[in-house]
């Protein structure tokens, strides 16, 4: 009863505010091997298909590393017809279905892949579930939306809600993802240094600063941050089968700027196996810290090593239908302190009358987290 536990976590948290405390704890980790990580949905969003990733994850000296595996052969097998479709390898261990691939709603699919070392893997059979459309998205500015990292104050955000109608008389499991687009002013922060236009990096070392040990450099032209929502947001329709579900909290968009921002929400019906996997992830990483934590367990999904059953794979494969909708957050009601997108108040390098080239503007480079192009539906 996870969600009930959340309340009790809070109760204990409240008591510990009065009498106890929460401190950081130094834990030794001893990860020995690369861990095979598989993530990916086969979706019906054929214009923007999800990349199915088959990678190694390593943890060395307090950092995680993703290592792509070369020469992986991956395919999708339609179990009814036995038809096998090879996935197209992308860079960094990513795979995409062929552009003409279409999901047959009555078919079950399995992800098959083989590593260069000869190990072969298969996912459990997965089938697409109909996802109901998002009926409405709305937001509300909340000055007490979440606690700061140190737990000492509340941070404001626009809480994003949606309404949808659950499909009656069937067990449904939902997963929501969101992408938040924010128009940013500063493109780079240089700590203990200044930005160098020649090297395009923070390579001019500085020994002293006036106020803070960093400078922030404005973007040359428009630049938009692409922020993927991190919290796991899942729901079972156990209490609301066939109902109009209203006010489902999807995201908390921090009060970064006074002007508006854009949020795209994806709603998916997922399989019970996928739901269990996400639920385990959520239990072990978000719903901890209370009186009654759930015992930790390996986060193993629906991928099995057919040549070695003892091999544990982190991850899942799913076949889903995506319903998506964009929502403009105008922040008209926003007030109070900013929750800085840079995690600190911006400090521009002071202008130098002797060197009019400074402070320089930094180019907005297109990447997975940034784009110079205005997102669709940006207002």
């Amino acid at each position: 009863m996870t969600i009930k536990h959340l309340k009790i976590y809070f109760f204990i948290f409240s008591l510990t505010i009065l009498f106890g405390c929460i401190d950081t704890y130094d834990v030794d980790f001893s990860q020995k091997n690369n861990i095979l990580v598989v993530e990916g949905f086969l979706t019906d969003d054929y214009q923007n298909p999800d990349t199915i990733k088959i990678q190694y994850s390593r943890y060395v000296e307090r950092s995680t590393f993703i290592s792509p595996i070369v020469s992986v052969k991956a395919s999708i097998v339609a179990l009814g017809t036995g038809k096998e479709v090879n996935l197209v390898e992308q860079k960094l261990g990513g795979f995409l279905p062929p552009s003409d691939f279409r999901i047959n709603p009555s078919e079950k699919y399995s992800l098959h892949f083989a590593l260069p070392n000869g190990e072969r893997y298969e996912s459990s059979p997965e089938q697409i579930y109909t996802t109901p459309p998002i009926l409405k998205i709305y937001d509300k500015f909340n000055t007490r939306s979440k606690l700061s990292d140190d737990g000492k104050k509340f941070l404001a955000s626009n809480d994003i809600f949606l309404d949808f109608k659950d499909t009656p008389k069937q067990k449904d499991y939902y997963l929501w993802r969101y992408t938040h687009y924010e128009k940013i002013v500063h493109c780079t922060t240089c700590f203990n240094s200044q930005y160098d236009l020649k090297t395009l990096g923070c390579t001019i070392k500085l020994a002293s600063f006036n106020r803070t040990p960093y400078y922030d450099y404005q973007c040359a032209g428009e630049c938009y941050a692409i922020i993927k929502g991190k919290p796991i947001n899942i729901m079972s329709d156990v209490v609301s089968d066939g109902d109009l579900v209203t006010g489902r909290l999807i995201a908390k968009i921090p009060y970064h700027y006074m002007y508006g921002c854009l949020v795209e929400i994806q709603q998916m019906s997922i399989s019970p196996q996928n739901y269990t996997f996400y639920r385990n992830l959520e239990l072990q990483s978000q719903s901890t810290g209370g009186l009654a934590d759930t015992p930790a367990a390996a986060i193993v999904g629906n991928i099995n090593n057919v040549t070695n059953s003892a091999d544990k794979v982190v991850g899942y494969f799913g076949v889903v239908s995506i319903q998506k909708k964009r929502h403009w957050v105008d922040r008209k009601e926003a007030n109070g302190d900013y929750d800085y997108i840079l995690s600190h108040p911006p400090v521009d390098e002071p202008a130098d009358p002797r060197d009019t080239s400074r402070p320089p503007m930094v180019k907005c480079l297109k990447s997975a987290t940034r784009t110079p192009f205005k997102p669709t539906d940006w207002q």
């Binding site: 106890g20 401190d23 834990v27 209490v239 609301s240 072990q284 978000q286």
Partner: protein, 797 residues
């Protein structure tokens, strides 16, 4: 007692040696034994706490001179309770006749062993401890709340997962493997406010007996132990009133004879309504409400010399509200309210046929109802999630003292369980459906016979045999594909049973054997074996069960837990029964211990076998205990080495194993445990209490490392409970001042000042990882600083 410290000791001697002689300032003290009135010689007399080389002669008499003034007189003698008194000299002669109390002949101050004097040595009882409420009240209380469960944790073999645990772990058992009885009625949730305080009203409780080894055959239904808590019997001859006020709660207990020597009632109430403190806290706590109350009553009717009737009633309620977190499922609620209630009642008829044979018949009713309420946004409606367990029991026992060698007890018992696993009541909500999981009904019956057989002066036995049988009634039983894990996807077909039709049944013998062999009058060795069957368990995959956790009885797939305990011990008392020593060892193996699949979800799950796993448990340990039961300084110390491990390998499938099917440490496996409790009584007005607790840190799971997944780091766990949090230790202190006015009145008050966690040790309750702001490990401490409290208690006799 006022101790004057400014009178210089030397001055007293100088005055005496200088021949200061004034007959009117002569003190003559005669000291005798209170029990036989015989004079005591060589009794030490001190003036103002300084030893003055004064002692009584063969007639128990000593005379000396004292100048005018006020003095503190102390008279002490080995084996006797020290006498203290204020002495005022004002040019008059003082004669004092003092009777010192022989400690060996006074009642136990602290009872932490078998109840009768020397009973721990002389009777074939193993792993049995009695703890009187007097002893529990001497233990420094957290926030001034005398707590039976915290007192229990000072005994060897009793631990918990931490300071806010909802129950105790006894000899490697889970919290639900303890049968907690309050005047014969079972308690399903023993704590208030999610584990902070135990629910037993201290003024209504007379004491408890803990059976962790040789469990009498009259008890059944739990695999680990029995905690038998008794309420006080109301006084049949006079009105009594006791009570107290503390930071947490206010208490009042009344004993009132209704028909003198025939009928009397006891009513005890405790209420906490001090949650206005939250309003003084940070803004985020201001909307919290956290209150509880409990009410206990006992009506005793002595019809005649052969028949008595006792009615015991108990009601407990907790309410907690917070508005700062989400909700259950998709209910859009403004806050979450927890409301849970226990209703217990027992009616007992005692009939003595003659001095050797008597019959006790008891009817028991318990109703435990946890509820979660969700007030909906922009509405007066509250969605409620309700569950509960109704327990009805009828039992009868016959006690027969056949002769000096045989004490027989036999009886029968039958229990009807009705469990409501969950009802979601939407009220008038449009977003939430009514939903319920069918009621689970079952019966558990037992028949037993036990004989305490004294073979000869040295050897005695307790031989008991219980037969228990269990029937699950009605419901739908699924048939699963044996090649797959039990889940909704592996169902082949199902069978529907009528409500009174048996869908599963279990049963078996439960032998209980204990042997005592006396090595001397004051020492003995004992051996024991007992087998217990458990058909009811709490279904919770968390470190400690929550008040809202679901209970479930055995069914076709949830097999009863069967525990076998082998134990042995050496017991020794000092000659005057002031000191008791014991060394006990045990080994327990348990079949069908319950564990849970990763991510198990019981909310509205009618088929819990799809979420549970069963396996084996083993626990073993050695317990050393020494106690001093009488005198100015009383208390006990104990050390326990124990282990508790489980092995879950339901099948060869990965998701039906824990830790790959190997043995792993349970959450409550704490190998080293040391407890010390000391109570120092300074006259009749001052008492000081100290407790010290040390436990090995409990296990927790450290990930092997992290994996990056969807651009977020997640911990990667391989083995469960592969590390331990830091060791736990704590020192508590209390100072009780009784009757500060020092005048004999019917109303007598006392103040207790206590400090819990005196040196402010930040003991970790749990260590956990969170990922929202980059993956970090945190330590949660429940009480990280000293917690002082002041309590006022009173009694009116």
């Amino acid at each position: 007692m006022k101790i004057k410290i400014l009178i210089p000791f030397l001055l007293f001697f100088l005055i005496r040696l200088s021949g200061f002689s004034q007959q009117s300032n002569v003190v003559t003290i005669i000291v005798k034994d209170s029990s036989d009135n015989m004079p005591l010689k060589d009794v030490v007399i001190k003036i103002d706490a300084r030893r003055a080389n004064l002692s009584t002669n063969n007639e128990g008499v000593h005379s000396f001179f004292l100048p005018p003034g006020e003095y503190g007189l102390t008279i002490s003698h080995f084996g006797y309770r020290t006498f203290r008194q204020k002495l005022i000299m004002n040019n008059s002669e003082v004669n004092l006749a003092i009777s010192l109390i022989n400690i060996a002949k006074e009642l136990d101050e602290v009872t932490v062993s078998s109840q009768s004097i020397n009973g721990n040595v002389s009777r074939p009882l193993l792993g049995v401890s009695s703890l009187s409420i007097k002893a529990i009240k001497k233990i420094p209380a957290m926030m001034g709340e005398t707590d039976v469960l915290r007192g229990l944790q000072m005994l060897p073999g009793v631990t918990s997962v931490g300071e806010a645990a909802n129950g105790v772990n006894i000899r490697g058992g889970t919290t639900d493997q303890n049968l907690i009885l309050l005047d014969d009625t079972p308690i399903f949730n023993p704590t208030h406010l999610f584990g902070l305080f135990s629910i037993f009203p201290p003024d209504a409780v007379s004491g408890l007996e803990l059976y962790k080894g040789g469990i009498p055959a009259k008890f059944g239904g739990r695999a680990s132990s029995v905690i038998d808590i008794n309420m006080i019997n109301p006084s049949l001859d006079k009105f009594k009133m006791t009570g107290g006020i503390s930071l947490v709660s206010n208490r009042l207990t009344i004993e009132q004879p209704i028909i003198k020597e025939k009928l009397a009632i006891m009513v005890s109430g405790r209420a906490s309504f001090n949650d206005f403190f939250f309003k003084l806290g940070p803004p985020k706590l201001q909307n919290i409400k956290a209150n509880f109350y409990d009410l206990a009553t006992k009506l005793f009717y002595k019809m005649n010399a052969k028949n008595t009737f006792t009615f015991s009633g108990y009601l407990s309620k907790d309410f907690f509200q917070t508005d700062l977190l989400g909700t259950i499922g998709n209910v859009n609620a403004t806050s979450t309210q927890y409301d849970y209630q226990t209703e217990n009642a027992a009616l007992k008829w005692f009939h003595a046929f003659n001095s050797k044979l008597n019959l006790q018949t008891t009817a028991v009713y318990t109703n435990y109802q946890p509820k979660t309420l969700l007030p909906e946004l922009n509405s007066d409606n509250k969605v409620s999630l309700e569950s509960g367990i109704v327990y009805n029991q009828l039992k009868s026992s016959l006690n027969y003292n056949l002769n000096e060698k045989h004490r027989l007890e036999g009886g029968i018992s039958t229990i009807l369980y009705r469990i409501n696993p969950g009802i979601l009541n939407p009220g008038n909500s449009k977003s939430v459906n009514y939903r319920s999981v069918p009621e689970e009904r079952s019966t558990e019956s037992g028949i037993y016979l036990e004989d305490e057989f004294t073979v000869n002066k040295k050897l005695s036995l307790s031989v008991g045999l219980r037969y228990s049988f269990y029937n699950a009634l009605g419901g739908t039983v699924r048939n699963y594909n044996p090649l797959l894990s039990k889940s909704d996807l592996s169902v082949i077909d199902s069978t529907v049973y009528k409500s009174n039709e048996t869908s599963a049944s279990y049963g078996g013998f439960e032998p209980r054997i204990a042997l005592k062999y006396s090595l001397s009058e004051l020492s003995s060795i004992k051996l024991g074996y007992s087998l217990m069957r458990q058909y009811l368990q709490v279904v919770s995959n968390t470190t400690t069960p929550l008040p809202t956790s679901r209970w479930a009885t055995s069914n076709t797939y949830i097999k009863p837990q069967i525990s076998e305990l082998y134990s042995g011990g050496i017991f020794k008392n000092s000659r005057n029964n002031i000191y008791e020593f014991s060394l006990e060892g045990y080994y327990r193996n348990t079949e069908n211990v319950l564990d849970f699949k990763p991510g198990a979800d019981f909310l509205f799950q009618p088929y819990i076998e799809t979420q549970t796993l069963q396996g084996k448990g083993k626990a073993y340990g050695v317990e050393l205990m020494a106690s001093k039961k009488k005198g100015e300084i009383t208390g006990w110390i104990n050390y326990t080495y124990s282990r508790a491990l489980n092995q879950i390998k339901q099948s060869g499938r990965f998701d039906e194993q824990i830790n790959g099917g190997t043995w792993y440490n349970t959450n409550y496996d704490r190998p080293h445990s040391f407890n010390a409790t000391v109570s120092i009584s300074q006259g009749s007005h001052h008492e000081f209490g100290f407790t010290f607790v040390y436990n090995t840190g409990r296990p927790f799971t450290v990930p092997e490392g992290f994996v990056e997944y969807n651009n977020v780091k997640y911990p990667y766990y391989v083995e469960r409970n592969n590390d331990r949090i830091k060791d736990y230790h704590r020192l508590d202190f209390s100072w009780t001042i009784r009757n500060p006015s020092m005048q004999k009145k019917r109303w007598e008050g006392s103040w207790t000042f206590a400090v819990y966690n005196l040196y402010g040790r930040a003991n970790a309750y749990s260590v956990y990882l969170r990922s929202e702001n980059g993956l970090k490990a945190y330590q949660l401490t429940i009480f990280g600083s000293p917690i002082p409290s002041l309590t006022y208690n009173f009694k009116f006799m």
